[in-house]
Symmetry: C2
Subunit: 378 residues, 2 copies
């Protein structure tokens, strides 16, 4: 009679659902892309999530299907729903995380604040957008980008010709998304959880620091944030979750502009790097919250446990020996820092873990987390 | 190169090591007594821990062997050590958790405060002890007792004749342990962790509330405790860990007497029910601390995260349907309470889980934890 959650995808997000699942007593199964992945302890099957039969077969052993990533194709998602499987988030919501053009159009419809944008299909269209927006813009492939991939800053209509050429061969349409280059003070992330039956809970909005397009550091809550902007961020997060019918965790990546506005940058419909602080810093971690939400159980308290939490990613690490060889040093110097690793072989720049520090003095907490993470650098 | 810890025994203590092992990135393997036990997710082998070959074979796949319980026979433990296996706690320490007479004698040698006691082998000897101690005493079988089993209050030398008769057939000697009936205000528990290389870290001493000989509730730290007694408790805990050479977690169950003394009641050389609060209430949980200690890694900070933490055991529960059917009610009413279940079928009085609540107002925290646990009662 144990509640059973199935996760498609065997990466670190699935891995980090294991701890709360074991604690509460939820049976977690993972359909992993291959053997030996981050979530291998819970992997009950290995297979290709593009294959409808593989995913349908996996779904038979669980009460609800959820995801480690947003890459499961719409036809596979819709086959699950047609077969009567509870899928959270469902295909109607996920399409907006899978296609950035669809997302921009939908957010306009919902009246959400976002950068100026357009769908462009050739150099001429791109140049027209550039001419209207100060000569520089961000161009994005609507599908498949992450961690800075599929994103490029351009100042001429000809700088995306390779992408236009590639898209011309794509049966799904040849348009790229172009967005104004936002003059922002910093990046924020607003996470909310939503149950199928409607309850929504918002986490405090956090500051995210990116390096080379990859999340490097998160401070929760965002320091010195104008109270009005915190309210707007929460309204935007909840409004998007409800407007798009998201179930489970939603992360809304935001720009805080130099003229004190909040604009939506990206969406993720799953636990998100900007919420890893919650494992040690919130009453209910984003991973526990995601499990509750997809099972349509009442949501937990997302409040911080102490004033500040700081997460610093471990990018790379000692490639010869693995992260474990640094445990002794980190633990000796930082007995209050929480180490999280993903069971992945270190490669330069690869996300292989993170550390969390919590406390009441922000300077101390930032120092602690950064210093601890630095021990893992190669 | 991942660090590998092997746990002999598949119960809830092994289960609760899974979350910190996954978080830090330690490979946990369990030798379970049978299939489908609490720690099944990490069970890499099923077998009898009385069998030397079974345990030796299991040990080959790990860097260090530790335990879910203290019942592995000394010859098996010593065979592991002789085969070069790192065993924590080791047989020299574990003998004192396995034999209460040996424990009493050793604690006397170390000068630890404990109740008056004696080894008695017949009704006459027991009567003599009773005559010297007000006519009532506690008699205990030296081996195999737990949760109130193997413990009896007697007021006549003849009331233990069944146990004397049983022991007469026991090749290991026919003595029972008799202890004075201590006039105590309440029971406390002092936990410490110790690494093989020597570092010792003490948790705050907690109050434990027993019902029918079983731990029902724990308040951390023990409210209104005389500061001198807290110091004594910590010294006793550290002194026993060092004196007995304990590695890993040690729990020292204590009496706080009505005349303000601390006396040692029992020892447990593993994570302990009195430390479950630490999962949500301490910077480093006893399960993470145990893993660090047995791997001889630097110990984590055992400090509380907030002023108070309260743990209430779930004893029994809805036997027809399992605990999951109550999740929705508990989560709806207590969004800040942490639920922990052990994957065991509820039976009246059986420990099948616990809840933790933390906060700064003791009355609120106690209420929250008790009310949440009550939802699970059948």
């Amino acid at each position: 009679m144990t509640l059973r959650v199935g996760v498609v995808g065997g990466g670190q997000l699935a891995r980090m659902m294991i701890a709360p699942a074991v604690e509460i007593g939820i049976e977690l199964s993972v359909l992993a892309e291959q053997k030996g992945m981050s979530a291998k302890l819970a992997a009950s099957a290995v297979g290709d999530y593009h294959d409808e039969q593989t995913v349908l077969e996996f779904a038979k052993s669980v009460d609800v299907v959820t995801f480690d990533h947003e890459h499961v194709p719409q036809p596979v998602l819709r086959a699950l729903v047609e077969a009567g499987v509870a899928v959270h988030p469902g295909p109607d919501a996920l399409q907006y995380a899978q296609d950035k053009l669809a997302m921009r159009a939908k957010l306009d419809e919902l009246g959400m604040p976002q950068p100026d944008w357009a769908a462009v299909s050739d150099a001429q269209g791109l140049q027209a957008f550039l001419d209207d927006h100060g000569g520089r813009a961000v161009i994005k492939t609507p599908r498949g980008g992450y961690d800075g991939k599929g994103v490029r800053v351009v100042s001429s209509g000809t700088e995306a010709e390779d992408w236009f050429a590639a898209l011309a061969e794509d049966a799904r349409g040849g348009e790229l998304l172009v967005e104004e280059l936002v003059d922002f003070r910093r990046e924020l992330s607003q996470q909310v959880a939503r149950r199928p039956s409607g309850e929504v809970r918002a986490y405090p909005v956090v500051e995210t620091v990116q390096r080379d397009g990859v999340c490097a550091e998160v401070i929760a809550p965002a320091p010195h944030l104008n109270g009005r902007l915190a309210e707007v961020a929460e309204q935007v997060g909840s409004g998007i979750a409800e407007g798009l019918g998201v179930t489970g965790m939603l992360a809304v990546e935001l720009f805080e502009t130099t003229d004190d506005r909040i604009l939506v940058n990206e969406l993720a419909m799953r636990p998100h790097n900007s919420g890893h602080w919650s494992q040690d810093g919130a009453v209910t971690s984003q991973f526990e919250q995601h499990l509750r939400a997809v099972l349509d159980l009442p949501l937990g308290d997302p409040a911080p446990r102490q004033h500040w939490a700081v997460m610093v990613n471990i990018l790379g690490g000692p490639t010869e020996e693995g992260l474990d060889v640094r445990f002794a040093e980190v633990m000796a110097e930082h007995p209050d820092v929480k180490i999280h690793t993903y069971g992945k072989d270190p490669r330069p720049g690869r996300k292989v873990g993170h550390v969390n520090a919590v406390g009441d003095d922000l300077d101390d907490v930032v120092y602690d987390a950064r210093a601890a993470a630095a021990f893992f650098a190669d």
